[in-house]
Subunit: 368 residues, 2 copies
């Protein structure tokens, strides 16, 4: 029997397991194919400021707390895992395409300044000096020096290694149910048998809401389609996010010559389809923003599901059953929130106390 069983070996589950093992707990992670869910599709943006939504200030604070932890976290994972995670600290440029897009940029900037965030308004010329491959049709920009990115797949590989080195046991099997004993979470049922544990961490991403045995949770799948391109060496200095006639697209360079183009946001349940329309819209907007993208190789198309919640913020801390801890609902911010989620969850597991920074994100905020 383990102290802790973690359902889900994506970024959140692995990082949490690793941190808990570092605190002296015995931890088992169960996942039949770790890292092939939302973690495989993530663009890896660490962008609390450019992602800041109106009336989502608690989430912004959590994001800022996490982005602050990122450099040390990355160094720690790399040391323990033995492989680089591709942290890029070149900042993020947001650009607007038409007059309405620029109006939205201006409003975003005003809101950021009101919150005391660091963001610099750029003229079209300044935006193109920063990113010369931008189309001359760009009408304005906003530079956020503190919004970074990481290579999500490299991060997952390093975390997998780090967790195992720290003694985490990985069982490659499908989680079929939460094991409940006397009204208390007591482990996981898998295709291959039962894994008994004192505490269970639910880190199944978009699937968290449908594990048998878990009481209803406000988590729903939010489909995202994403593209990976190759041949983009020196194309971009850092992440470029664009508002293109009211639609959003982001371009995230990684791993030398690679570029991620993301992402659609679709309410279609667990529809796994990469659609002609989704791929078209991403390519269309990306090529509009950086015309040279037209010449790049299309290497991969992918659809996955973000774990969405009613307020776009995660579900952390004690779950709806004794012995059940939540680490899910990260929606668009899973990679960004990995360090802070792992830290607060490990703290709760080791001491029974949930750190203050996570207090606004317990599931009781939605009532019973």
């Amino acid at each position: 029997m383990s102290d802790v069983a973690v359902a889900g070996g994506g970024l959140i589950g692995l990082a949490t397991a690793w941190r808990a093992a570092q605190r002296g707990l015995s931890v088992t992670v169960v996942d039949d194919s770790p890292g092939t869910g939302a973690s495989a599709a993530a663009a890896g943006m660490l962008a609390p400021v450019t992602e800041a939504g109106y009336r989502e200030e608690a989430l912004l604070r959590l994001g800022l707390a996490s982005v602050e932890r990122w450099p040390a976290f990355a160094a720690d994972v790399e040391r323990a895992g033995g492989t680089p995670v591709g942290l890029r600290t070149a900042g993020t440029l947001v650009v607007g395409f038409d007059e309405d897009d620029v109006r939205e940029l201006t409003a975003l900037h005003a809101y950021q300044r009101e919150l005391g965030l660091d963001a610099e308004r750029l003229t079209p010329r300044e935006a193109r000096r920063r990113e010369p491959s931008l189309t001359p049709r760009v009408r304005g920009g906003l530079l956020v020096a503190g919004d970074h990115s990481v290579d999500g797949r490299a991060l997952h590989a390093a975390l997998l290694q780090a967790a195992q080195v720290a003694g985490v046991r990985l069982i490659r099997d499908r989680v079929t149910a939460l094991r409940v004993d006397g009204g208390r979470a007591a482990g996981l049922e898998t295709a291959g048998g039962t894994i008994a544990a004192g505490t269970v961490v639910l880190a199944l991403g978009a699937h968290s809401g449908r594990l048998p045995g878990v009481p209803p949770l406000p988590v729903r799948p939010v489909k995202g389609q994403i593209l990976r391109l190759a041949g983009a060496t020196d194309l971009l200095e850092g992440t470029v996010r664009a508002l293109v006639r009211g639609r959003q697209v982001y371009l995230v360079p990684y791993a030398g010559d690679r570029l991620i183009v993301g992402a659609t946001t679709e309410d279609r349940g667990f529809d796994p389809t990469v659609t002609a329309g989704g791929v078209h819209d991403l390519l269309h907007d990306a090529i509009d923003v950086v015309p040279a993208i037209s010449e790049l190789e299309l290497v991969e198309t992918l659809a996955r599901w973000r774990p969405g919640t009613p307020d776009n913020a995660p579900l952390l801390g004690p779950g709806p059953l004794p012995g059940l801890v939540l680490a899910t609902g990260h929606h668009r911010n899973g990679v960004l929130l990995t360090p802070v989620t792992a830290e607060v969850t490990a703290e709760l597991l080791a001491t029974g106390v949930l750190p203050e920074v996570a207090a606004p994100f317990t599931t009781d905020r939605f009532g019973r």
Copy 2:
């Protein structure tokens, strides 16, 4: 030693080998991965009329001769190969999008009538009655009842079976050179050894011009990118070809719910890259013509090379060396021209006489 060695196990090579074996010759086909070249990318249009180019009347006659042979050829391959080849005889609709596109349609129709070809001009309403999923923005149409399609991959699988049943020997090895003996083609060199043969058929598609030992041939690679979509059950009655603001796109339904969207035409040598721009343009034009394509699943993207020649017509008959026979240079018409190519080449191999229909396509038309 075989009577005939065929370099290349694509559609042309296999069909030729099969027909030659039926004539009583012993035939060996050499290809390290048969059917993975242009044959794998072909949309399978049997469309001599809609493909008819100005000043390409000899090619048109050859195409008509081949399309006439198609029903019997398909039945024959299916009988011998044991699997269906997906021949669809619903005809082809050509549509124009803007005024210039329609002007081009009108000119094409006039040219077709001048040549005595069967093509019917449709109003936008008539075009949409035939294909209700067409955008209402279509400005005019042209129905060619005699232009059909076939499932190129199913055809290849059936031909592979038919050829082997007929006694053709297939060697899965890479052809590295033409074997020349006393100034005469005498077989093929492969990675694994020498294959001696009385006559060699060169059917290497776009690679035909660069096999060591073969004198220079006017064959160059013409890159095409193509998409395969799923979920298109009942979307289209038959092939739809569209002129979209001067660009061409075609939509070819096959195998129940599948749809091919093709194709780019690029002079880029043997560049194997599926590009963001190529995929974008195909999706953009296809969705413009049939908006519901947006919802289909993007299953596959592919780039291959057509064997282009200076006059877009194939190279048939005796090659530049004694003992060497050409069956290459089919450019955009490889599937269409498979039956006639196989027939005339087998006739030449069996009797020494090239049938009249192939006479305009010997390589000496380009001079020495």
